[in-house]
């Protein structure tokens, strides 16, 4: 960490050149690597229980004990504290600390508030000109987005329950897919994988500071 922030978000530095990088924008912002994009990887924000169900052989970063103490515990739910440097843009359609899945970024920002995703659980939508599939798991507040165009064909998904498990099923071919990973496991498209769409689960106030003009799912 560089000790610096852009819109309350982390600014990293690399030890090799001391260039500064914006975490939120995934880009170098000062120094030799200014303007250089960082390749983002499809991380999932979820719970250990949810993760190990999908990946029983997973490894994990060492922890010294089983404590869940987090220096930000009080901060996560405190709507009166919009970051260290405060918010620039006030948009009161949602509470400051409402979590949103932010997609599209500079290509066409669109926020999917968790409160909107909660009732839908699966959303077939469009972001920045691409067809998007968003799945939401309430108990772990997991929100993941995929690109639902496969080999030039747009797929439309529903969540169904089968054998006490949840599956995605596309209306076009009735193929069954694993919601967490976007992998097709049964049907005409078995073996296919949906590409993850770059997204971040962030606070509403943080998203609107970067994208005051953002589209918002569920709000016209």
């Amino acid at each position: 960490m560089s000790g610096k922030l852009i819109n309350n978000a982390l600014v990293m530095y690399d030890r090799e050149t001391r260039s500064l990088w914006s975490q939120f924008l995934s880009i170098g912002v000062q120094g030799e690597f200014e303007g250089v994009r960082l390749e983002t990887l499809p991380v999932v924000l979820t719970t250990w229980g949810e993760w190990t169900e999908q990946y029983p052989e997973t490894t994990a970063l060492m922890k010294p004990n089983s404590s869940l103490w987090d220096p930000y515990l009080g901060y996560y739910g405190d709507n009166s504290q919009p970051g260290i440097i405060g918010e620039k843009v006030k948009d009161e359609r949602f509470a400051r600390k409402e979590l949103v899945l932010g997609l599209g970024f500079d290509d066409g920002p669109k926020a999917f508030p968790h409160s909107e995703l909660r009732s839908k659980r699966v959303v077939n939508d469009e972001v920045a000109g691409e067809k998007a599939l968003i799945i939401f798991r309430e108990d772990s507040a997991t929100a993941i987005a995929f690109n639902r165009t496969l080999d030039g064909r747009d797929l439309t998904f529903d969540l169904i329950e089968l054998d006490e498990r949840e599956w995605l099923r596309d209306r076009e071919t009735d193929t069954l897919w694993i919601p967490f990973t976007g992998l097709a496991v049964d049907g005409p498209l078995a073996g296919s994988v949906l590409d993850r769409m770059h997204g971040a689960n962030v606070f509403w106030f943080a998203w609107t500071d970067f994208y005051p003009e953002t589209e918002v799912f569920g709000v016209s």
Partner: protein, 127 residues
């Protein structure tokens, strides 16, 4: 009589100067960065390339490395991890080429960055 006003004028001038400095100090320590973000990878500026330049403030709140990143992290196998990870614990999970790894969010909150290697690929987990 005029000579009595001079000290007041002098003090007023000093006060005004201090006020101007204090008000602008904030701006002095917050340089503005121009960041050009291009629409996906069109390095040669193809027909569909869209780029916009936006301005952001860079705010310094701490010195470099006040929070030290985790480098060369110790990694637990599932069985060992189960003794310290709780089901309801928030994690950042990543799977590359069949290798899956979880990073505890409470732990990340205190360290911010983990420099790791997964499936042979050098990665930085940032929170």
């Amino acid at each position: 009589m005029l000579s009595r006003l001079i000290p007041f004028a002098f003090v007023a001038f000093i006060v005004a100067a201090v006020v101007v400095l204090v008000v602008n100090f904030d701006n002095l320590s917050r340089p503005k960065l121009e960041i050009t973000v291009s629409s996906e990878d069109e390095p040669s500026g193809g027909a569909n390339a869209v780029s916009q330049t936006r301005e952001f403030e860079l705010v310094t709140v701490l010195a470099f490395d006040t929070i030290r990143s985790i480098d060369e992290p110790i990694i637990y196998e599932r069985e060992k991890a189960n003794t310290v990870y709780l089901d309801e614990e928030l994690i950042l999970g990543l799977e590359i080429d069949g290798e899956a790894r979880a990073y505890s969010v409470p732990l990340l909150s205190g360290r911010e960055i983990v420099n790791d290697t997964l499936a042979g690929i050098p990665i930085a987990i940032t929170w």
